[in-house]
Structure formats: C-alpha cells, structure tokens
Symmetry: C2
C-alpha cells in the first residue's frame, strides 16, 4: 500500500489529480492510500480518501502531515499570483515559509527513521519563475528572474526542494506548470484567470471579460494534461534529472486571438460574441512580465506531454467539465 498525501487536494488541480489516481492508479503501485489536505473541499470531492482540513501557515499542522510518513507527497497548495501580489505577507507565508516548514518536517521524519524514510515530493511550480525580457522561446537553461512575488516564492521553493533532495532527505521534483486552461468553475484571483474565463464563460452562455490585448501570447495546458504531469512525476526515475530538479513542462503557445479562433471553430461565433474587451492595467502589467513560449526539451525527453493545439484544450474542457459547471 502506497501512502499518498495531496496538499492542496481540495483545489482544482488536486481534484483532477485525485480523479486520475482513483481511476488509473500509479504504475508499479498495487494500491494507493490517499489523504487530502486543504482549507476545504468541494461538494463534488469523491468519497473514500481521508480528508484533513487546516492551514499551511501553522507549522504544527505541517509536522502532523509529515508524521503520516506518506511515500508520495504532492504539494499543490499556493496563494495565487494576483493575491500574492496584493497580500505580500500572505504570499510569502504560504508560498515560501510553508514550503520550508514542510521540507524541515519531512527531514525530521527522515532523521527519525535513521534515513529509511525518503519520500517522493512533487511540487507544482510555475512558469512565473521566469521574468522578462525573454528570448523567443525559453529553453531549459534560461534564468529564473521572476517579476512577481508569486514567481519569486515558487523559484525559492524549487531551490529549497532541490537542496533537500541533493542531501538525500527526500526525493523532490518541481513541475513548472503552464497556465492551466480551461479551468472549470469560477474565476479565481490569479492574474491568469481570464485565459480560462474567455473560453469557459462563453461556453456556459455567459459574458467574459478580456482584460488584455488579443496579441498577448501565452503558454497553456489543460487540467487533464496537468493531472498527467503529476502522475508521471510520481514514478519518474529522478536520477535522470541529473541534479536539476525543476522542469519546464510541455504546453501549447498561442495568442489570445488564436484562443478565440479555436473557440470559434469549436463553439461558433455566438460564443465569441460573449467576450468583452475591458482593459485592466494591473493585469496587463503582470502578464507583460510572463513567458510566452518554451522549448521544454528536457521534460519532453523525460516523457511529459501536453496538447498540440488549443482546439484540443477547448474540447477537453467540453468533454470533462462543461456539464459539471453550474450556470
């Protein structure tokens, strides 16, 4: 029995991961004993997995979680980019200090086990670790020089995870997720929320606001691709990372105009007509400092994969989430 802890298991990506683990399991692991941790859980959360409710800003809670000695720890919890930018204390507390406390708590279990306990830790980082100016495509050797607090906190967490892994206390990997699109459900406080909103709201018969120019280019993958990244990372031979434990993942690069064209092809002009352009300086400023395109050769070589077109991303949303969305 493999013990799995999903920190942030109540969130959108956590729920997608959970559904995939319950359906497909993990290669080489006969059975999974899954525990979810989050501030709360959606009504649609499947029964079965244990649930622990709490906040990551409490080190005692983190100590308790590490005390479960999970074989596999997913750390998906974060204060999203927009909120981390407006609430400086909260962003650093949850996105950086909680990571530190988690790593220290796992290390304490490692030491208490005389070195026998070395869990796999899969951490969701972000392409926000990169900051402008960018090359046309960001390759695997481009520097992390973030221009948001969220990006800085993610880049720091990557560095901590890499060093604790190098020392053998745990076996970590940081996945720099593309912007996940189309997110089901409601808009969130992430500055990237509109990338999903301009597809999701029209498909649900609602008006969507586009706060940036349609020439903005960005890097996307579906929630289904994200769940695939996370399960692939659980069983990857980490010696193949050769000490560089942060990976930029595959995605699809397109402009907002190309997103809208995909929506038109899949759902028609009526859907497109529901998008209203209302510029927002604050969001434009954040997004201007974000990456647009990648050459994620390492991750592709390690077997990670995502969608090849934005049409596929729209179709994945329709297949998996459209019927579940409350109107």
């Amino acid at each position: 029995m493999t013990r799995v802890l999903i920190i942030g298991g109540g969130g959108m990506v956590g729920q997608k991961l959970l559904a995939k683990l319950l359906t497909d399991g993990l290669p080489g692991h006969a059975a999974l004993d899954i525990t979810l941790f989050d501030v709360g859980f959606p009504p649609t959360c499947p029964e079965g997995p244990a649930r622990i409710t709490g906040t990551l800003t409490d080190p005692a809670t983190i100590t308790q979680l590490a005390g479960l000695r999970p074989d596999l720890i997913y750390h998906l919890a974060a204060i999203v980019s927009g909120e981390a930018e407006t609430d400086f204390d909260k962003g650093w507390s949850v996105n950086m200090m909680a990571m530190w406390h988690l790593l220290e708590a796992v290390r304490a279990q490692h030491v208490a086990s005389d070195g026998a306990y070395v869990p796999r830790v899969v951490f969701t980082s972000s392409i926000a670790v990169f900051g402008a100016p960018f090359p046309p495509q960001i390759d695997d050797e481009f520097l992390s020089s973030p221009q948001t607090s969220y990006g800085a906190q993610k880049a720091i967490s990557e560095l901590m995870l890499q060093d604790f892994s190098r020392k053998g206390f745990l076996d970590g990997i940081s996945l720099r997720l593309p912007t996940i699109c189309v997110r089901p459900g409601k808009p969130n406080l992430a500055a990237s929320s509109f990338f999903s909103g301009i597809i999701r709201e029209p498909l649900n018969g609602q008006e969507a606001i586009l706060p940036v120019s349609d020439t903005v280019r960005h890097w996307h993958a579906s929630p289904r691709a994200a769940a695939g990244f996370l399960t692939h990372a659980a069983t990857l031979d980490t010696s193949r990372l050769e000490g560089r434990r942060a990976l930029s993942l595959p995605g699809f690069s397109c402009t907002v105009a190309e997103q809208i064209e995909a929506l038109r092809r899949v759902a028609g002009q009526d859907a497109v007509d529901r998008i209203k352009y209302i510029p927002d300086d604050a969001i434009m400023k954040i997004v201007a400092g974000w990456p647009r395109d990648f050459d994620p050769a390492r991750a592709i070589g390690l077997g990670f994969h995502a969608e090849d077109t934005f049409d596929q991303i729209v179709e994945t949303y329709i297949a998996e989430d459209l019927s579940n969305t409350s109107g």
Copy 2:
C-alpha cells in the same frame, strides 16, 4: 551624513571595504557614519566606526540593526561553503533565514516611515549560485541551479532581495563575487580556501596543500577588486538593472596550473616548490560543481571591473597584505 551599516564588517572583505570607505569615501556622499556588525573584530580593525557584536541568528538583533535606519546596508555575512555543506542547519539559518529577517526588518522601518525610508542594500552573493553542467562561459542569462547548500542559500537570498526591491521597500543589488583570491590571513572553512592558500602560504615561506588537480579552472578577483565592486554598487543607478538585480561580476579565469605559473613568475621556483598535491575527494566533489569562466557583459557595462591577469592578483596580495601576515 550618510549612515552605512556593514553586516559582516569584521570579516576579510568587510575590512577591505571599510579601509576603502575610510580612504576614498563614496562619490556624492560628503561624510560617512559607519557602523560595523559582526560576531567579532580583528585586532587590526581601524578605530572610529561604531562596532556592534552579535549573531544574525537572533531576529531581535536584526531588528535592532534595521532600527538604525542606515542609508546603505552591506550584507556580507555568511557561513562559508564548506561549513554550510557540513552543518546544514547553521547554513540555512544564517545564509537564508537571517536574510529573510533582515529584509522584513528593513520593510518594517520602510512602513513605519510612511515609505520614506528606502535604503540601498548591497548583498554579496556568489558564483556558487551556478551548478554544473556549464557552458564554456556563463553568460548573464544562464540559470541558477546550485549544487551546494551555500549556493542554494545565496540564490534564494538574491530572489528575496529582488522581490523586496521590486515592491519598493528597499533598493537592493546582489553581487556574485568571483572567488576572492588571494585572501590574507589563515585558511577558512570555504571549500575554495586552497585557491588562496597555494599562493599565500608559499609567499609566507610555508607549505601549502593543493587538494585538486591543477587542471581545475576557476574564476578569481582580488580583495581590492571586491572592495571596488562594493563601493561601486553603493552609488550605482539601480534603474539600469532593469529588474534583474543579481549580477555576475568581472573576474579572471585561469587553471590552478596557470595560478602556479603566475606565482613562479612573481616569486620564483622556491615558492612553487612549497605546494604539495594531496587530493581531497570532498573538496574535489564540491569544486567540480563550480563555474570556471564567465562572460559578465552586464556588470562590465555597468562599470564594474577586476584584474586582467593572475599576476596582478598575486602582486596585489604582495602589495596590500604580505607584510601584515603573521608567519
């Protein structure tokens, strides 16, 4: 009167910086009111500047230092690479957490001053933020993927300093010093200590141990160059950094064999004969993960400069420090 705080002011680089500030002052600053902070001070420390003795692992001490509201804060204090590798807790506590507490304490003063207090903070980072495999020369866009705890702690401090600067709480710059060579005085716990030792000990009539192959290539600058970097950073227009506040600095790249040839040219064969090759696996392993050569175009464009030959580095030691070294 410009208030200057030098954290780590009792160390070698701190003392070199102090001497330069006392001799040359700072351009555009009529007079300097200097305070030194460190765990202790050498007997040769000049009289005049105020001294505060303490440890950076005490947040109350850091709060007290920030309460002085220095216009210019140098943060030079660190647990060196070798010790940070063997004492994991101490390295993270001093090299990472103390940086966090310092930035938070400065931010508290910024807030208490209604935003009027925005000090320049000059932080000594290190080329240890880079990890192998390397390109032939490391340019200004190469990633930080350190392979030592020391390097991870420095890279994290850079990211914190950049984000606190971006938010306007302070005005920071991180200087990735080359390995400082020739360090006066005694060997220290840095894994890089031998790069100085193989020059310094022979010049003082003593035997030196070379723990790595003489084909090892590395990146050097003198203590005099380091003091010059630090004073230049104090008055640099940081808007020229365009948001990327960590700089790889100029230096001179050469192999250990070329260092030894320079010693032979400057001091003769007798000096060279005092070097004994005694391989040390632990040091070789750390040094193998260190950079060898740089293309520091940004820093050169911003007016930083260092030596052009290793002979100059040897001669600088002889001119500035040889007579002061106890035998």
